[in-house]
Symmetry: C2
Subunit: 426 residues, 2 copies
């Protein structure tokens, strides 16, 4: 049996490697049973008769991943960023997240977030919700309906946060277990639970142990924050004297890679030791350059992450990042790396467009498995981009078109999106 086949035609670009594009001009991208079958310059005889959608000069790129964002903070985007992390949390996200105890508010706020995420250039995302189990399910229902592929986390925190968000340790654990079972019952196709201890300052050792047990019981992945801000790091040193460095605190609790698939956002101030441990344990970095500028956190050593062989994806980190436009995150990653090179370390070569594109596609996609590439066997996530808004006196070549999209593109360029072979209604 041949299975279900359809074909997209256009200028196809994906990452041949971390440093090189594969560019296939006016070619056929074949989807078979939700997976990439292959790319052909001329359609093979055996594939004749299958439905073809011809997008002319449009670019077709692999679906991109937003490896770190907060659905529950989206209403704050573009406001109140005149503070550093810890003070900002107190004045902006915490009061906002407290509102998500209200089902009606959550429906409205998550509705806007999911609508914008659906229109954005990404097909996959790792999303923080809030501590509130009931409204986390609202977010998950909305995301499932959108057709996007996502990991969604019910946030855990049992200390150092306002009363309105603080969970009792045992209740935080039991609510999380109830939530996991509830998710299992829904039998979502695209929406998956991910354990989400907010960060060490907000999670007691006991809570971390409970989450580690749940992790082992349900084999769930984990997302959290790491080494974002100097004050935060000092605080973690006080709170966890057992750990030599921030990442080791997660590791000692069994929530830092290895059997436990883990993504850590930021890593702006990660030491060589921390980077080394991430490498050993296979911990992903969600690089969030816009957020790191907006909260004056600094510039993460993205070049070092790549040199040390870490898995790196990009995160919008709304609402410390302002938008869900992953193209904007790519250009911010380029800019940040250039400034880091100029100001901090001439040994850390600026990132290239090839590298940030890799991060946005295959780099982040790997957290989901075989996603973010058009190599045969990869899940068929594709984004069709129409750059006709960008007028030019002479037609640029395909590589330049992609480069320009990375520097200038947003949701206006997104013409169609496919997730695991299914076209989204935009």
């Amino acid at each position: 049996m041949n299975g279900s086949i359809f074909i997209l035609k256009g200028n196809i670009v994906y990452s041949k490697s971390q440093t090189e594009f594969a560019i296939c001009e006016h070619s056929y991208l074949v989807c078979r049973d939700g997976k990439v079958d292959g790319i052909y310059r001329t359609l093979p005889f055996r594939l004749g008769g299958n439905p073809i959608r011809d997008f002319g000069d449009c670019l077709i790129i692999p679906g991109m991943t937003d490896l770190h964002t907060h659905g529950s903070q989206y209403a704050l985007r573009g406001t109140g960023m005149d503070r550093e992390l810890l003070e900002w949390l107190e004045t902006a996200p915490f009061p906002e997240e407290a509102k998500f105890s209200d089902v009606e508010y959550a429906k409205k706020a998550y509705g806007i977030f999911v609508e914008d995420l659906k229109k954005s250039p990404v097909t996959r995302a790792c999303v923080f919700a809030t501590v509130h189990r009931e409204t986390v399910m609202i977010l998950m229902d909305l995301l499932e309906k959108s057709g996007l592929e996502t990991y969604v986390g019910k946030v855990n925190m049992d200390r150092n946060c306002p009363e309105s968000l603080r969970e009792k340790t045992a209740l935080s654990a039991s609510e999380t277990k109830t939530w996991i079972r509830q998710v299992q019952e829904r039998r979502y196709r695209n929406t998956h639970p991910i354990l989400t201890p907010r960060f060490i300052p907000a999670c007691s050792d006991e809570l971390m142990d409970c989450l580690s047990r749940l992790q082992k019981e349900y084999r769930l992945p984990v997302q959290s924050h790491l080494s974002e801000n100097p004050e935060e790091i000092r605080w973690v040193k006080e709170l966890r004297p057992d750990a030599e460095f921030y990442g080791e605190a997660y590791d000692k609790s069994g929530l830092f890679g290895g059997e436990c698939k883990t993504v850590m956002a930021h890593c702006v101030h990660s030491s060589e030791e921390e980077i080394q441990l991430m490498k050993e344990k296979g911990v992903f970095v969600a690089h969030c350059p816009e957020s790191n500028a907006n909260l004056a956190s600094g510039i993460a050593p993205a070049r070092r992450f790549l040199d040390r062989g870490l898995s790196v994806g990009l995160g919008s980190d709304a609402a410390a990042g302002t938008s869900l436009n992953i193209f904007a995150v790519m250009r911010q990653a380029l800019q940040a790396s250039k400034l880091r090179w100029r100001i901090l370390d001439k040994n850390e070569k600026p990132l290239t467009v090839e590298e940030v594109f890799y991060m946005a596609t295959k780099g982040g996609g790997e957290f989901f498995g075989k996603a973010g590439s058009f190599e045969p066997g990869y899940e068929f996530d594709a984004v069709v981009l129409d750059d006709s808004r960008m007028k030019s006196p002479e037609q640029p070549d395909i590589r330049s078109c992609l480069e320009r999209l990375i520097w200038l593109g947003d949701e206006r360029e997104v013409r169609e999106k496919y997730v695991k072979g299914v076209r989204l209604e935009l």
Copy 2:
């Protein structure tokens, strides 16, 4: 006689000072004879009967100024920025600018630039063309037709650039004189000539002297580049051993403020001496944070410029900057200042939204005279902004709406623009 009066109604915001907004909710902004007459919460009886346009909850802000951009590089935007300034000039702008000897190419390329500038959030701009007198006039004709208020420069360069762009010194001067007279003959309403020596490396002392004579004869303002890149600065030291620092080279040629109104782009690496001289001579800074990141130039000390009392506006610097969206330049200025604070100097407090808004409006507007404010007597430049694209579960207050526009806005929010009391056809 009352003169010609019309009134805009909406949520009006302008800069009360460099550090404070004036916010006038649902108020009337009165234009009389192309100038701001006043803002009223209740319309005075004597103004009754004049035409009113009510924009509901839209924001109405003063026209913004792009204090530094290159019309002739716009086709390059978003491509080829993997180099530093001097190498980038050789590989991208110089070959592109050479194309502007061709009238047909210039019509096409400048047509796209002017169309996008018209739709952008700015009402005024200082624009670099190329060395080619004939096609500079094409740009000026197009800009005049757009209704925008602009200074446009025929570029001068007689050394250290490709043959295709290099002018003989005497011819550069005579062509500039012919160009100035040609502009005078056209009797433009909104389009003005500005002397434009490219930068010291491309202009011999003799050429600078010729331009200084033209400056005195025609009392023209001047625009150029200053202290953008470390290599460039070293080169200027070699080329102009008579000058203690880069700015002094312009000053010794009589093209650095005083009687000669001057704007210098970048000033990323300006010393205290240079800043002091700019202050004394009233030289404007066109702060171009995006360009400075994209070419790895660094982060200009914007906080120091403000502390020392310099006049500072914002520049998109297309095509080292990627777009003509001055909102994006504002947020890049915020981000750059936060990173500078974090990485370089904890004494240089990050910029605030109030400060970057001031730079974009009154700061840059001052280069044109009384522009960029709604204080009575200012030229009536206004931008009506509709932020309904930015959905929110709860309606933010007016200040937050403006803040969000600064962080997220682009040309999609521009509903109407007025220049000197005339509404532009968008």
